[in-house]
């Protein structure tokens, strides 16, 4: 009993110690998959946020205080994530950045919301995350349905009038196909073909022959890169020259390997930008700094979006002139407009979803490289 009391006393003094410390710094939590199968993303997130915190502190921090980043590992796993979230909520953080996977973020949402800590996710694109009415939840990642809008818009900008849509019956690809189909029809673009292939097969000439018969200006394929590669290869063998557009699931270097450079040339796909293609002055300075400090490029755009999450939270605390969670959330929902982040303009709608375009259009060149298009 005595021992327990002692432990309790120690714990109380620890917590008291933390709150005393909290007066000196503004703490921002980072929840990232530092281990597990997404570890490379998580390590990148940590490096980026630490670099940005360093830079911000050199400029005087926020509200006249230095920023302290407290990192917890979510392991890319929902159960680990809920533990990490609980640990962060006890450490007096003003806001939390993270995390990567949608299901992992989902496991932590309620915990932060209950503790009234603003959370900003960086890699979680699942639509449902912002449909639950959490007041303190934001994300810098685009929603899954954003891509459909971008697909319809791109097809319009490239001037195609007759579109064939092909998906692969997975929930992701079918969702994107349905979304694009509805938007294209609304805009008056003719959809001359809508069907699904069976992923995992090798021979898609039957489908290509049928597609060719429908005589489209462009084919929108919403599935993954293995099938996209085979379609391009067999399309070339058929000597059919129609352009193909794909979704971000085809953003994979193996696409060119499977199709061959010749067949892949001219293939368009939508994707959030590669880190090296970020073109604002801010982003360029950031990439230079990152390369100087770590001697590599950020692993992916998703890690960079964690950096944006950090910048947004710092701007939110500065704008609200407070570390009070309600004030930060209010400020981000209402007064936070036209902020220029690393990945472009950032603002939030009432649900906490990012407004503005994140997706870019890429085209494969003759060397098999993915080149950012200006449309």
């Amino acid at each position: 009993m005595k021992q327990k009391l002692l432990a309790l006393a120690a714990a109380v003094s620890l917590i008291a110690g933390v709150t005393v410390q909290a007066a000196d710094t503004v703490k921002i939590g980072l929840m990232a998959p530092l281990t597990g199968s997404w570890a490379s993303e998580g390590q990148g997130m940590k490096k980026i946020v630490e670099l940005l915190a360093e830079q911000q502190n050199a400029k005087g921090g926020v509200l006249g205080k230095q920023i302290e980043v407290i990192t917890e590992d979510d392991g890319g796993d929902p159960r680990t994530a809920s533990l990490a979230a609980q640990r962060l909520t006890t450490k007096g953080v003003a806001a939390v950045v993270g995390t990567y996977g949608s299901s992992v973020t989902e496991a932590s949402q309620a915990i932060y919301d209950e503790a009234k800590i603003p959370q900003i996710a960086n890699g979680s694109t699942a639509i449902r995350l912002t449909e639950k009415g959490f007041k303190h939840f934001f994300r810098t990642a685009p929603r899954d349905d954003e891509q459909g809008r971008m697909a319809a818009q791109t097809i319009g900008k490239l001037g195609f009038k007759k579109v064939a849509i092909l998906h692969d019956s997975t929930s992701y690809a079918k969702g994107l196909a349905d979304e694009s189909n509805a938007l294209l029809k609304k805009k008056g673009t003719e959809v001359v073909f809508f069907d699904a292939l069976t992923p995992g097969e090798r021979d898609y000439t039957t489908i290509l022959t049928k597609l060719k018969g429908a005589n489209p200006d462009v084919v929108l394929f919403t599935g993954y890169f293995p099938e996209a590669g085979l379609l391009l290869r067999q399309k070339k063998d058929m000597n059919w020259k129609v352009p193909f557009i794909g979704g971000d699931a085809t953003n994979n270097a193996d696409l060119v390997k499977i199709a061959g450079k010749e067949a892949a040339e001219g293939y368009y796909f939508l994707s959030p930008p590669q880190p090296q293609d970020l073109d604002t002055a801010d982003a360029k300075a950031f990439l230079d700094g990152y390369q100087k400090k770590y001697n590599e490029l950020p692993p992916s755009i998703w890690a960079v979006l964690a950096g944006d999450g950090f910048k947004v939270m710092v701007a939110g605390i500065a704008g609200a002139k407070s570390t009070d969670s309600g004030k930060i959330a209010d400020y981000l929902h209402k007064d936070f407009k036209g902020y220029s982040g690393l990945s472009g303009a950032i603002s939030f709608d009432a649900k906490g979803d990012r407004e503005g375009e994140v997706y870019r259009v890429y085209k494969v060149d003759g060397e098999g490289k993915f080149v950012l298009q200006k449309l």
Partner: protein, 317 residues
Amino acid sequence: MSQFFPFPATLNLANLVEEFFQQLTNGLAVGGIYALIALGYTMVYGVLKLINFAHGDLFTYGAYLGLTLLTSLALTDRLGFALGVLVLALMVMGLVAVLGAILERAAYRPLRQSPRLSAVVSALGASIFLQNTLMLIYGARFQVYPENILPATTLNIFGLYLPLMRVLIVLASVLMMVALYLFIQKTKIGTAIRAAAIDQDAARLMGIDVNRVIMLVFLVGPALGGVAGLMVGLYYGQINFTMGWVYGMKAFTAAILGGIGNIPGAMVGGLLLGVIEALGAAYISIAWKDAIAFCVLILILIVRPTGLLGERVADKV
């Protein structure tokens, strides 16, 4: 079947006829591969009454061994395309045949006297083992055959698009099937295989070494499956360690369609399944093409429970 665009308004009759024949040739090319793999299923079933579920994986091994040999030995650079691919095919056939024989010794022979279910479970286990071994050796990513190994000649016959390679694949498949048929029907060893298929005990009494016959079946079937894997790799380029599953299921279906245990049945079943899939996709719905193929299978089995050519019991192998 919600979206169904039968014929765009711009098409006329000539285009329709052209498209029909195009789809027919597409189906035959896919069906030729199915038929080659189906032979392995049907031969093993004919002799042992066992569905060799690992057969699809032997097909995958053919594709991977072909890739390794092709890139490490540079056969097509040294010998030219035709001779290079021929030597490559023979090497792959030999290696996969040895693999098939090892499989028979390790997974099936110890269970020869056990209930049939044990052997089926063993077959499934062998399939999982083979697949995962391949993943551990080559990794889980897609592997790709080098580009421009095959001549990209496209024949243009009455406006039909026929890449030379597709024609060659169908021709090679048919040639191998006919050779196998003649081997089974006309040679002494073939007669022994047929005898063992009809009654193993009686065959043994006639002085036939049934163990050797079974070993032979496990050499020939996997060799054909392996060379089918090589052809898929060469023509389609992209291979991965799970590809044997889809092809294996389709080929198994083809074997049943034609009448399992029957060699001409496997050929007919394979080609027919390919054509049904292609025409179903072309004229009904792409997303439903497998469902259509299986509906046809069920209908045929209702009318002819032993498959299309399945009744000639005496010819069983």
